[in-house]
Point group: C2
DNA sequence: GTAATTGCAAAAGATTTGCCCCATT
DNA sequence: AATGGGGCAAATCTTTTGCAATTAC
């Protein structure tokens, strides 16, 4: 495996991801947060590190269908994502057992499964409460 | 609802989507296909129509985590997607009943569900066969 | 005839990359 | 000291948009 260094920038980015567990920040948001600690960090560095960390399996990318930019999250136990179309928030939700245990033996092209993503799109209770 | 016209461009785009059911083309691919029929169609028109048709519920956008561009599909009965990391193909696969019937009554922020996406990532049988 | 839609090209956004310098090892 | 990684800015890529001309109705 390739040699890598523990730079202050990388540590800060991981830290931002750890401390915003439920907000699934974009690169831009991570950049803004990181700048509070390292005012000179550049957006390019944020992207380079996110890509590197994703390669290491320490960061996951999340894309939803109507958003231009990717969101990122630190690696955590398997879970699903709930996207509220009203407040644009992405929430972590438990991954149902039946999904975790899915078998694909029927008439599918699936040979081996690496990962699985379940995205629920709808309205969150908070938004519905505010509306009424 | 807003007035809309049946342009040749729109019909061709829908046709391309219908005739490439299992390939989930990108806008660029749709553009190239459409040019075979309408050599002057522009990429902007393809995007504009895809957005319009998505608004009408006739087209769906699919984004996967490591691809820069969106893929599109014509509206079809609910199904899940299988992404082969080897050949980059996206296959339609049946949506398991247990997923279709998921209930969210526990400790989640979910109030109402509009739609649901299940993405499986792995290797398809064809790729595995070729490798060995 | 009117207004939606097109083609074209420029703009906008997100992400990547080249280059030279700095900092970790 | 060697070299991985950073900062900056330019480049790239995808998608959107303004505008004048066209076309469906």
């Amino acid at each position: 495996m390739k040699k890598s260094r523990n730079t202050r920038q990388r540590a800060v980015i991981l830290d931002v991801l750890k401390n915003t567990e439920s907000s699934h920040p974009t690169a831009e948001t991570i950049y803004r947060e990181a700048r509070k600690v390292l005012p000179n960090i550049s957006l390019g560095t944020v992207y380079r590190n996110l890509n590197f960390l994703r390669g290491q399996g320490l960061v996951r990318e999340i894309r939803s269908n109507n958003e231009a930019s990717s969101r990122f999250e630190g690696e955590r136990p398997p879970h699903a994502h709930f996207h509220c179309t009203c407040c644009q928030t992405v929430h972590d939700i438990p991954l149902p057992d039946c999904v975790r245990n899915l078998q694909w033996e029927g008439d599918t092209p699936i040979c081996s499964v690496n990962s699985l993503e379940l995205h629920i799109v709808g309205a969150c209770s908070q938004c519905v409460a505010v509306q009424s």
